[in-house]
């Protein structure tokens, strides 16, 4: 092999490498996770392109978990990349993105058309920084058949749930049947695990950007879940359980109750499910005499501050978060709408009848703390919840740890 041949081969491949075609000639580029039905969004975008000649919209799909996407977007936006015009953001991100100057604000936007929780989640310092794409919340799934068998009504409090689980366990005598499955792994969902009973006691974690921590309420919240593990209602290695593990186990018939997001329903009624037709869904229970709380999920549309097409991008986002699109996505993609009226829409109910029951849950769901430093807050809460459930930290110590660390972050 002589140097001339090597050099020419290298040169040829280099030319190829440099001349990889840029992504198709487009005006706007939106960033969507490939798990959130980009093919259905494509149809919506085609309609938009037809109605707006001269505008082409391309979809770029990114990492599939909220975490992977955030990693990618954080890198790209830190370097002020102008490639993306519109971003689909997890509901917990707008505050951070707005503070970092990565999103453009929407002027004079009336947020009252949406479900109230989304107005709160997308408004930072009085400015609207993102518009809702679709909604989500946490539900209590339960085995209708088992509850009927033992004559138990769907529980409204956690205490009732524990009693129900015990009764079913004693009756079924199946060691593989869990009472309750929830998320104990140190994932984002574990933040909800902590907040559900905390909110149920009428407490908020953050008000107007300031920390309002109630130590006793936090201890009670952590204790609730730890007690489930200690009394056998939840399995011992619950600290290993992530969202989809809960879904899989309930789907296989191994749990009486499950805490999970809306995506699980379709799986439970699917062909591979062992519990088709046996599943009921309702609001998550309350703690003692408190309120029934749920955790708000869903995704939002933001306009990149570095986009070179600010006006067109904003127009596109307004379209994408309109009621018509919301109804379309609900009927065709099973994504929960962000408009209350859509839950009664015939088209929607024909495709996903259970959405009628879902409204009461989504309406009363609360957003996680809206603060630019949410990532750090989330890290503190979820690692502590995980440690408490693993038995490494006591609920009291866990609450103190959360308090101390949050105080440093949310000064």
């Amino acid at each position: 092999m002589n140097i001339r041949t090597m050099a020419s081969v290298f040169a040829a491949t280099s030319v190829l490498a440099f001349s990889m075609p840029a992504f198709a000639d487009t005006d706007l580029k939106i960033f969507v996770s490939s798990q959130h039905q980009p093919d259905v969004w494509r149809k919506v975008l085609d309609k938009y392109e037809a109605a707006n000649p001269g505008v082409k919209v391309a979809i770029e799909t990114g990492g599939n978990t909220s975490e992977a996407q955030a990693q990618y977007l954080n890198t790209v936006m830190s370097a002020k990349d102008t490639n993306l015009d519109v971003l689909m953001l997890d509901v917990i991100r707008p505050a951070q993105y707005a503070a970092a100057g990565w999103t453009s604000a929407f002027e004079n936007k009336d947020m009252s058309v949406y479900l109230p929780a989304y107005a709160g989640a997308n408004t930072v310092d009085g400015k609207v920084v993102a518009l809702p794409a679709f909604a989500d919340a946490m539900f209590l799934y339960y085995r209708k058949d088992l509850l009927e068998k033992y004559g138990i009504a769907p529980p409204k409090t956690w205490e009732e749930l524990a009693a129900a689980a015990k009764k079913v366990a004693e009756g079924e005598k199946n060691p593989d049947l869990q009472g309750l499955s929830f998320q104990g792994k140190a994932i984002e969902g574990a933040v909800c695990t902590f907040l559900l009973p905390y909110w149920s006691q009428g407490k908020n974690l953050v008000e107007n950007g300031k920390l309002t921590f109630d130590h006793d309420a936090a201890v009670t919240a952590l204790k609730l879940w730890k007690d489930f593990v200690d009394t056998g209602v939840a399995k011992k290695n619950i600290a290993e359980v992530a969202t989809d593990d809960t879904r899989k186990e309930f789907q296989a018939g191994s749990a009486v109750f499950a805490v999970n997001w809306s995506y699980a329903w379709t799986h439970f009624q699917g062909a591979e499910s062992a519990v088709t037709g046996k599943v009921g869904v309702t609001r998550l229970p309350a703690l003692g005499g408190g309120e029934q709380a749920s955790c708000l999920g869903g995704w939002e549309w933001g306009v990149s501050a570095y986009s070179t097409h600010q006006d067109e991008a904003k127009k596109l986002v307004e379209y994408l978060s309109s009621e018509d699109v919301s109804v379309f996505m609900a009927a065709n993609g099973s994504l929960l709408p962000t408009y209350a009226a859509a839950y009664g829409n015939n088209e929607v109910l024909k495709a996903v009848p259970w959405f009628a029951d879902a409204l009461q849950v989504v309406e009363t769901a609360k957003p996680r703390p809206v603060t630019p430093r949410y990532n750090e807050v989330s890290e503190v809460i979820r690692t502590t919840v995980n440690a408490v459930l693993a038995g490494v930290t006591t609920p009291e110590d866990g609450a103190s740890q959360i308090e101390a660390r949050l105080k440093r972050i949310l000064r």
């Binding site: 890198t75 830190s78 140190a186 011992k236 600290a239 290993e240 890290e379 693993a390």
Partner: protein
């Protein structure tokens, strides 16, 4: 002639280019510059410039979520670091991982190499089983072993139970989770060590052992007096790179435990990544990166000095 002799900067070969060097009539010096230029340019672009940027940023308070512009704060990031319990914990975890997995990989690698050196009829299955762990991407190895150590569906507990022990909930306990991570790292890296050691083993001439036999030395003594000393140079080079990589441990704990429970299995590289990419605290993240770099440089210097004094 060894790599180490270069590091002693000994002028052990003939000096000066032969009289008939016709390539542009360059002397050694100029030719050296030209030959080293590509490497230098690449390193400058990819490493030196970003590192300098990082060092520069570490003197500023720059957190993208604060919405405030960068503010010069001198050494404040570093003093914050000293008071940060998570910094100390992750650094300690990193050091511990290094202290456990480097000798661990060496011992296991040595054992594997000795086994692999037996006269097998067919060589390639043995070689393949040494090379596959090394070729498996780190992130995949982390994922796979996370599943292996799952308390319910994992293979490890299955084997333990079949052997009559109780299953362990690996990721419920800081110590067991740490053990799982170290085991995975040792498994992954011992195969490369084994390869290097095997190569070394196969160059030791038989005659040395035969002579030792004649002198009446036992197998064990032969091992310690012939095998090990002759393996030393290969082992040292492998150790340098293994140690540096150990200090940078990221993928495996990231995939297996995400640092949990709590922060008990989080490493310095993970903490840097978290601060930079997730918390967007670029100033603090840069300062942490500089400290990690300094740590690695110190370790490298120690190794290089150890090599020099040996020769």
């Amino acid at each position: 002639m060894t790599t180490t002799s270069i590091l002693n900067a000994a002028s052990n070969a003939d000096r000066g280019p032969p009289a008939w060097t016709r390539w542009l009539d360059l002397g050694d010096r100029a030719l050296g510059v030209v030959l080293l230029a590509p490497a230098a340019i690449l390193l400058a672009l990819i490493i030196v410039y970003p590192v300098l940027r990082l060092g520069y940023t570490s003197f500023f308070s720059l957190s993208l979520t604060s919405g405030l512009p960068a503010e010069f704060v001198g050494l404040e990031n570093y003093s914050l670091m000293l008071e940060d319990p998570v910094f100390w914990e992750t650094t300690w975890n990193t050091v511990l991982i290094t202290l456990i997995t480097v000798p661990g990989a060496l011992l296991v690698g040595l054992a594997l190499a000795l086994l692999a050196n037996l006269p097998f009829g067919v060589q390639w299955p043995v070689r393949l089983s040494l090379l596959i762990p090394w070729a498996l991407p780190l992130s995949f190895a982390g994922l796979i072993f996370a599943w292996f150590f799952h308390s319910e569906y994992g293979v490890v507990n299955d084997v333990l139970v079949r052997l009559g022990f109780e299953g362990i909930i690996w990721f419920n306990s800081p110590n067991w989770a740490f053990a799982a991570i170290c085991l995975t790292i040792v498994w992954k890296t011992s195969s490369f060590m084994a390869l290097i050691i095997l190569a070394g083993l196969q160059t030791i001439p038989r005659s040395l052992y035969e002579a030792a036999d004649v002198d009446g030395a036992g197998r064990v003594r032969q091992f310690f007096e012939i095998t090990l000393p002759l393996l030393k140079p290969s082992i040292v080079v492998a150790l340098i790179f293994r140690t540096i990589t150990a200090l940078q441990t990221f993928d495996i704990p990231y995939m297996m435990t995400g640092g949990g429970p709590g922060t008990s299995t989080s490493t310095l590289a993970m903490y840097i990544h978290q601060n930079t990419v997730s918390f967007l605290d670029l100033g603090y993240g840069s300062a942490l990166a500089v400290v990690m770099f300094a740590l690695s440089m110190c370790v490298t210097a120690v190794y290089l000095r150890a090599i020099r004094t040996k020769e």
